[in-house]
Amino acid sequence: MSNGSGSMPHDFLHCRVCGCLSHKPDTQYQSGKYDVLYCPRCGVKLKTGVNNSIEVTWALLIAAAILYIPANLMPVMSVYMLGSGQPDTIISGAMHLVEAGQWPLALLIFVASIVVPLLKLFSLGFLLVSIQRKSSWRQRDRVLLYRATEYVGRWSMVDVFVIAILAALVQFGNIVRVETNIGTLSFAAVVVLTMIAAHTLDEHLIWEVEDTDA
């Protein structure tokens, strides 16, 4: 019954969370479409049978791409000085920083809030298309691209945090105060959705081409 290390890798179930290798319950067991297997060590659901990672990731990615538009067109915060308010979008906020001579800060906000989310949308889209085409083109580099996308995504939250800090600190009644606007919500939604999309994308699929003929 036990077939040790000599068995084919395909017999193993590999837990993506704890890395533990396990067997299906018994040799006659044929996994059905709806069966749920749990990892014996960490208890996470093991991915078997149908893999809907591609569809779920596409759905999240499209939702994020749609929300990216209001996130950039709507004001994220308003500064009220002596009663009159001035709403700012992410871009106009960065432009004010440039005018004030704080261009390193403007660059940081521009990269974290505009470039990174856009790059994430494109790189995840590119990875999805290349996986669906079962492309064997530069697999190792594509894994690196995936890891970079996954790592860098959370840093986009910096703009949301800056707005939270300004809104909490700059509260001096009629003299000057900062109010949050709806753009912040859609921007945070873009960051959250792309983070979930990077998580649901199963990067092992990049190697699927090689695995089939190994």
Binding site: M1, S2, G4, S5, F12, H14, R16, V17, C18, G19, C20, L21, S22, H23, K24, P25, D26, Y29, G32, Y34, D35, V36, L37, Y38, C39, P40, R41, C42, G43, V44, L46, Q102, L105, L108, V143, R154, W155, M157, D159, V160, F161, V162, A164, I165, A167, A168, L169, V170, Q171, F172, I175, V176, T180, T184, L185, A188, M195, E203, W207, D211
Partner: protein
Amino acid sequence: MLPLFYWDRNSYGNSDTVTASVLQLCFASMGLVVSVVSRYRPSSVIACGECGKIYQYQAVLAGQEAICLRCGGVLYRNRFRMLDSVLALTLTGIILFVLTNFFPLLGLKAQGMVQELTLWKATITFWQQGFQLLSVLLLLNLIVFPLFELFTLLWVMLTIRFNLSTHLARHLYRWMQQFKPWGMLEVFMLGVLVAVVKLGDLAVLVLGPAFWSFAALIVCMAAATAILDPFVVWNSLKPDDSDE
């Protein structure tokens, strides 16, 4: 020989293989969802966590690491006094976290008034301005997940050190690994720095005591993450027969 057993999450509990297989086939033929815990396989065969390639485990010397030939991911490392260092960092981190929440991070002076920023106030401001969802997101990012990470690390280190039952530790550590990207203290720190530069020209800004404890907390947590090798943790947290 491997013991041929598995657990089932459904009502029929710890049954033997034959009964369970029959029940399972019944459920499967009825098209119902069957949920089974896969069979644990204690052996020296391991898989690359990044790409799934299979390897035979070989011990490496202290200070060295094993790298996957296919994708270049780290398979496992052998670090000197890893668990003790992480335990010390985690305890320090918990103390620093408490300190950070009791003192202001920043103070802003204008027109004779002072506004102070604490970690808690940063999360609650969105709620007060009508963005409850954002407020909850910040609460998770800045307070819930970092605290969960610290206490999970503490419990895992204690479990391994004192050979406690691994059940809780395994579940906690799994959740911690999955939620790790959502704890965003270091991103918040960058936000604080941006705000400091942004407001620095316009008003008098005072760095509060929590600013320094917060910075130290981030260093502690980053060091714990860098030092701890999940492979070693999972290897030490073997399922004990009594649970499930």
